[in-house]
């Protein structure tokens, strides 16, 4: 139509731009293809092991240290970590989509083992949960005598409380705290206004709690990792009910049972336990997990 005369020029321009973009992406591909080749000195036939774990473990950064250490000790395996909620991690075990699980939801793990989905379960380590909230502490959880008192103070609805509501280990822990205090948060009169379900991972839930200036329960590692972007503080820690036990489970009829068994043996060995116990000292000035494999 009106612009017909400029069309060829425009097309040429567009074609040139496209060519440049393609050329760059090819360079990128070439680079990406070259890099991983370098650190492999000998060609070993590697078996992939699928480890299903939780987002909070992933967010803590533990795997960045743990997996390379395992792969160094067992060069015949490579580990692929799938980080989901404890609920889905167990479901992945049930569906045999994972070979080995590292989760922290003792009650759900017990059900899983009883249903015959796992070969063996062992304790690995524990860390602890912290109750975080705005420094002003509008609900008054600091003054509470024990965790029951804390939950009662929170259920007053003076400030929002974020629940993960995703069947994660952290969510089960929270539910247990309510149960121990004989409170049904969803049963309170104005639950809709203060008991907010995020349905998301720990990092995202902390961010939402921060924006809403509310409370939430987080594992210490994730809170320490994301603290920089938050205006929330630890209001409650060290209470016995806030401990968080991790377990490793080998999945029955998994695709790669040897790799799963090797991972379980290694993480509960003196060598694996040492890696667990030292993680975080360098980065945060304190260990994030306490190894306790028997």
């Amino acid at each position: 139509m009106r612009d017909r005369s400029v069309r060829p020029a425009a097309w040429r321009l567009a074609a040139t731009a496209l060519a440049i973009v393609l050329a760059f992406s090819l360079i990128g591909c070439a680079k990406a293809a070259e890099e991983p080749k370098a650190p492999e000195p000998v060609a070993v036939e590697k078996t992939k092991v699928v480890l299903a774990s939780t987002t909070s473990t992933q967010d803590s950064g533990l795997f960045d240290v743990l997996i390379p250490a395992f792969e160094k000790a067992n060069p015949e395996y490579t580990v692929e970590v799938i980080a989901v909620g404890s609920g889905e991690a167990l479901k992945m075990g049930e569906n045999k989509d994972a070979d080995v699980l590292l989760v922290h939801s003792p009650a759900a793990e017990k059900t899983f083992m009883e249903a015959g989905f796992g070969i063996e379960r062992r304790d690995v380590m524990y860390n602890d949960y912290v109750l975080v909230g705005p420094a002003a502490d509008p609900a008054g959880v600091k003054a509470a005598k024990d965790l029951k008192g804390v939950m009662k103070a929170l259920s007053g609805g003076k400030a929002p409380f974020m629940t993960r509501d995703d069947k994660s280990g952290t969510h089960s822990k929270e539910l247990k705290l309510w149960k121990d205090a004989s409170i049904s948060p969803t049963g309170t009169a104005n639950a809709k206004d203060w008991y907010l379900a995020t349905g998301q991972g720990m990092g995202e839930t902390l961010k939402i709690a921060n924006e809403k200036q509310g409370y939430t329960i987080s594992d210490r590692a994730t809170f320490l990792t994301s603290k920089g972007a938050l205006d929330l503080v630890i209001l409650r820690e060290g209470d016995k009910g806030l401990l968080n036990q991790y377990g490793v489970i080998t999945v029955k009829d998994a695709a790669r049972p040897e790799g799963a068994a090797a991972f379980m043996e290694w993480i509960t060995s003196a060598e694996g336990q040492k890696v667990v116990g030292e993680y975080g000292v360098e980065k945060f000035g304190q260990a994030l997990f306490t190894p306790n494999a028997k």
Binding site: G87, E88, A197, T198
Partner: protein, 234 residues
């Protein structure tokens, strides 16, 4: 295939019995995306009209912007809106992050270029002679504009469908600025992600079917528009 059969049965039971709040999630989806599309139409159709009929300085630039905007990555929109509205951001005082208005805002940014570009194409397809003729018969500028929009109505319907389609299926931006809060900002897409994460395939599949249904309706509308346009050409 057992996994699908089982999930399908669970999902169906849930939809029929209304046991889970699946329908309230659907309602929030329609509400948020509906308002966003409505705003996108109010702003986008005049822009599209101007781009499609008027000749002015910067028109070419604006067309490029609108066309680029059609390919705007929603996660980028999510990121920028989240930063703007965050407590530490420039509009933190409004306390809008993780609320429905924040979602509407993000979806508006995603849908606006789509609506503007599609309606620009629609009005420019109306023969120029027709507009000139209307003017020569004594129509005012407003009457001329209304007539043009009326002639382009099928294309404008396409703009509505394309705009709605671009946001109803979107998950990145709404998670980032909505936060998936149950009963407040949880929409179909974010709920599907969550249920899948939890291994609850039943409700995930139920919501997925409803979402597919909606996308299907939108595309039936679009096809209808295309066919009637073909008839018009003849």
């Amino acid at each position: 295939m057992d996994i699908f059969i089982g999930a399908f049965r669970d999902g169906l039971t849930m939809l029929v019995s209304g046991a889970t709040d699946v329908w309230s999630i659907v309602l929030v989806s329609i509400q948020v995306s509906g308002v966003a599309v409505l705003l996108a139409l109010v702003l986008g159709i005049p822009i599209g009209f101007a781009l499609g009929t008027k000749r002015f300085v910067g028109r070419r630039m604006m067309l490029i912007i609108a066309n680029t905007g059609m390919g705007l990555p929603p996660v980028v929109v999510g990121l920028v809106v989240a930063m703007l509205l965050s407590r530490r951001g420039p509009f933190g005082k409004l306390e809008l992050l993780y609320s429905q208005p924040a979602m509407v805002f993000a979806q508006l940014i995603i849908a606006l270029p789509v609506v503007a570009a599609v309606s620009a194409a629609a009005v420019s397809a109306v023969p120029r002679e027709l507009r000139l003729q209307a003017r020569s018969l004594g129509a005012s500028r407003l009457q001329e504009a209304l007539m043009t929009l009326k002639e382009a109505r099928m294309g404008l319907l396409a703009a509505v469908a394309a705009g709605f389609g671009s946001i109803i299926s979107e998950v990145g931006a709404v998670t980032m600025v909505g936060g998936n809060l149950a009963g407040k900002t949880r929409v179909m897409t974010t709920a599907i992600v969550q249920y899948t994460r939890m291994g609850d395939y039943g409700p995930a599949l139920a919501l997925a079917s409803l979402l597919m249904g909606m996308v299907l309706v939108v595309n039936i509308l679009l096809t209808q528009v295309q066919q009637s346009a073909e008839r018009y050409e003849k």
